[in-house]
């Protein structure tokens, strides 16, 4: 896999506020990379710098191996970008908008554009200013998918949309997934956990981790240990065990480096005989809550 998007020691300050702090992120080719993090983590700023809409304070970003600050029209022909806060040409009708953009893209696929308009049930003769929020996002997405770009960048595309519209948008995006690399940012993990292949967690301008979704979900487990004897109060636990909760004979924790044999060996080493151990896979949302709590505790 080659890298389609890359940030190198990227920092961005708005006056004294540090938004990005030496961010190093790589989005591999043909991945669906979910960039997640709380509001204000720096997701939109990262994407805007990647798209050359903002200048970095330090560091560089690359798309297709080109410095983002020198992205040419030819590069933008390969990128489909949709953002929740994008200013659209409000006066255009949906059909005029699509027709207007067509000559900018040599790869514009008229049949695909028609298909997208049908799929999203977009009213062709309605002005963009008269569209609902969901419809605007659909129009933006249709105009960004009609030329089959090899890179699709979606900045919080599902914010404020009802579940039905969100599913339609996801469906439209996933139709391109086998050919394109997709970078999608969201503060809502449940939106993207069903289809992201890679995940990056951004918090306070730093990338806390970035890895394949399968590896992430494999290494996090919620574990409940029922002890035969009460737990000693001064018992020190491994740092990889997060969100520990304990009652007299029950210990619950999230193992952030779960490996069946190693984790079991550690439990037996610490507590000797145990009555029962139950291991549960975790949804992405639970993983991030555990991480956020651990970070808060550490802070």
């Amino acid at each position: 896999m080659t890298d389609i998007l890359r940030t190198n020691d990227l920092s961005k300050r708005f006056r004294k506020t540090v938004v990005l702090n030496h961010l190093n992120m790589i989005v591999p080719e043909h991945s669906i990379y979910g960039l997640v993090g709380p509001n204000g983590a720096g997701k939109t700023t990262t994407i805007k710098i990647l798209m050359n809409a903002l200048r970095p304070t330090e560091g560089t970003t690359e798309i297709f191996g080109h410095d983002s600050r020198r992205l040419s029209p030819q590069d933008f022909m390969q990128i489909g970008y949709v953002s929740e806060n994008q200013q659209m040409p409000e006066w255009m009708t949906v059909e005029y908008f699509m027709n207007y953009l067509k000559p900018f893209y040599p790869n514009w696929d008229v049949a695909r554009a028609e298909e997208l308009l049908r799929l999203f049930e977009l009213p062709r003769d309605r002005k963009i200013r008269d569209l609902s929020r969901g419809m605007r996002m659909k129009a933006a997405l249709a105009s960004s998918l009609a030329y089959r770009p090899p890179l699709i960048v979606l900045d919080e595309p599902f914010t404020g949309l009802d579940p039905l519209v969100r599913d339609e948008l996801i469906e439209g995006v996933l139709e391109c997934a086998d050919r394109a690399t997709i970078l999608i940012s969201s503060h809502d993990l449940s939106e993207i956990e069903s289809f992201a292949s890679h995940i990056g967690y951004l918090d306070r301008g730093r990338l806390q981790f970035s890895e394949e979704m399968s590896s992430l979900t494999d290494r996090f487990r919620e574990i409940e240990v029922t002890l035969t004897n009460p737990l000693p109060s001064a018992q020190s636990l491994p740092p990889a065990w997060l969100s520990t909760e304990q009652s007299e004979t029950v210990l619950r924790f999230v193992d952030s480096h779960f490996q069946q044999e190693r984790t079991m060996a550690e439990v037996y080493r610490l507590f000797g005989t145990v009555h029962q151990i139950s291991v549960h896979p975790m949804p992405l949302r639970a993983i991030f809550i555990a991480l956020a709590k651990a970070r808060r505790k550490a802070a």
Binding site: K48, M51, N52, A53, L54, R55, P73, Q74, D75, F76, M77, I79, Y81, S83, N85, Q86, Q87, M88, P89, W91, Y100, L101, P103, F104, Y105, A140
Partner: protein, 511 residues
């Protein structure tokens, strides 16, 4: 090019109503100017309210159009949809330039041509003026607004950016009331009386150069890189430079440039300024106001080449007392005492305190007179009638009897600028009139000595006329023109001037 045309077509579709309004105002302007051209029967009614209104509306509709079209693909900000689309900056800039040319410059060019034809001008002869007036229109009315629109996100920001310099200039003008900066800011139009006179065009052209350079760099920078912060700093620096230019370019510097541009060699080896020996007795000092003493010194300009007329542009005088104290004064007024302009009385002043110090001694007066010499007298006859006559390097002139039969008038229309010349109008009486008197009038208005074929202004034609109320039948008119041939400085030194001897005490009240 294809992309530029594509964007241009989109802009035309989007702004069709704004375009229609802008062109309607240009059409109204053309009709008003043409009606004025066709109704020269009585030139006293020069401008109507509608004409003035249209001259104010034109810049407003242009600025609105520019703001709308530039902000349609705003360069400042990071949320515009187009910045992540494959726009070529050259195509985008080209589309905007094409739009502005097509709906502002071209209609004005056509309007100017139609108006000139209505006045009877030959378009071929006026081509340099036509083109140069478009250059000035672009530099002063359009470029600054295009540049400001390129560094702002919308109409509110742009309005603020436009108003800011006005406020700054107004504050500045409170402390520097004589500064001519207000003229270019307040539309620089003929209607606003904004034509720089004499050598002031040097300052105006300095401003034009700064505006052109800054706006070009801003547009290049913004369209190619969208570096709004740098572009805004550059816009502010350009504004400051224009203000500084108007303040710091001295009259002397402007004079030197004008002098350098004078190509004609005039023998001035014997030219000098000396006390007027004939009117020497007219030298006097007199009290003016509470603490000021006026001085009138008759001077004579001698040794000028024959057949030349002279105009004093400026005078600076130093009074020096025997103890070495010097009082400088630039304030003066001139009173011609005869022999065309070559004898004059310089009237200036001293403070009461300074006068007391020197009144019993002798004064040395050193000064410099800055003069423009006019020569190459040309005379063109203008018969009475409806057909205008082409007068070389002035324009078209016509002579008529007033519609109210109260007398006669000679009217000359000049394209794009007033002639940099002394123009004299003569009414030649009928041979049957035994009185046989020639009534002449010298045009006294100050014109610009700019070497360019157009002054800044929206109306392409400026007019000057002489109305005669003499009821003696006139046979025809004559227009006499003398053009500036040299701009010179003559220094003079008057020694042993005794203020005490020439003092005229104020009249005493008698009961």
């Amino acid at each position: 090019m294809r992309q530029a045309l594509h964007i241009f077509k989109k802009d035309v579709r989007h702004f069709r109503f704004e375009i229609a309004i802008a062109i309607s105002v240009v059409v109204a302007f053309t009709i008003i100017e043409m009606r004025h051209a066709l109704s020269v029967a009585d030139p006293v009614t020069i401008r109507t309210g509608a004409s003035t209104l249209v001259l104010f509306l034109l810049p407003l509709v242009w600025w609105t159009l520019i703001a709308r079209v530039v902000h349609d693909e705003a360069l400042a900000g990071n949320r515009q949809f187009w910045i992540t689309r494959p726009y070529s900056w050259r195509s985008l800039l080209g589309a905007k330039v094409l739009f502005i040319f097509a709906f502002i410059n071209l209609p004005m060019l056509v309007a100017d041509m139609v108006i000139l034809r209505a006045y009877g001008f030959s378009l071929g002869a006026e081509l340099p003026g036509l083109l140069w007036s478009q250059v000035l229109l672009t530099i002063v009315y359009l470029l600054p607004i295009i540049a400001l629109a390129a560094v702002t996100t919308g109409f509110v920001q742009l309005s603020f950016a436009i108003l800011m310099p006005f406020v700054i200039v107004l504050i500045f003008a409170m402390f520097q009331p004589g500064v001519v900066l207000l003229r270019p800011v307040f539309f620089l139009g003929r209607f606003a009386g904004g034509i720089p006179v004499g050598y002031e065009w040097v300052k105006s052209y300095f401003a034009f150069i700064v505006i052109t350079a800054c706006a070009s760099v801003i547009l290049f920078w913004q369209y190619s890189r969208r570096g709004t912060t740098v572009a805004r700093c550059l816009a502010a620096a350009g504004g400051i430079l224009v203000v500084l230019g108007f303040t710091l370019i001295s009259w002397n510097a402007a004079f030197k440039i004008q002098n350098w541009l004078s190509k004609e060699q005039v023998d001035l080896s014997s030219a000098r300024v000396a006390p007027d020996s004939i009117n020497e007795g007219l030298s006097r000092f007199f009290r003016q106001g509470e603490d000021s003493v006026g001085a009138e010194i008759p001077l004579q300009i001698m040794g000028l080449p024959p057949n030349m007329r002279v105009r004093v542009e400026k005078l600076s005088v130093d009074f020096q007392s025997p103890d070495g104290s010097v009082w400088k004064t630039d304030g003066y007024s001139l009173r011609n005492v005869g022999d065309a302009d070559q004898r004059l009385i310089v009237r200036t002043g001293l403070s009461g305190g300074s006068y007391k110090k020197v009144k019993d001694g002798s004064l040395e007066v050193r000064g410099s007179l800055y003069l423009t010499l006019f020569g190459h007298r040309q005379t063109t006859g203008v018969p009475f009638g409806d057909r205008p006559v082409v007068v070389p390097r002035i324009g078209v002139c016509s002579a008529r009897e007033s519609v109210y039969r109260r007398g006669y008038f000679l009217i000359c229309s000049s394209a794009f600028r007033s002639p940099a010349a002394v123009v004299t109008y003569h009414f030649i009486p009928s041979p049957a009139d035994t009185a046989g008197q020639d009534w002449s009038s010298v045009q006294r208005q100050m014109n610009s000595y700019s070497p360019f074929p157009a002054d800044l202004g929206l109306s392409p034609v400026s007019q000057d006329f002489k109305l005669s109320s003499n009821r003696v039948p006139a046979d025809h008119g004559l227009v006499e023109r003398m053009e500036p041939v040299a701009h010179i400085r003559l220094d003079f030194d008057i020694t042993n001037l005794r203020p005490g001897n020439a003092y005229i005490p104020p009249p005493t009240n008698s009961h």
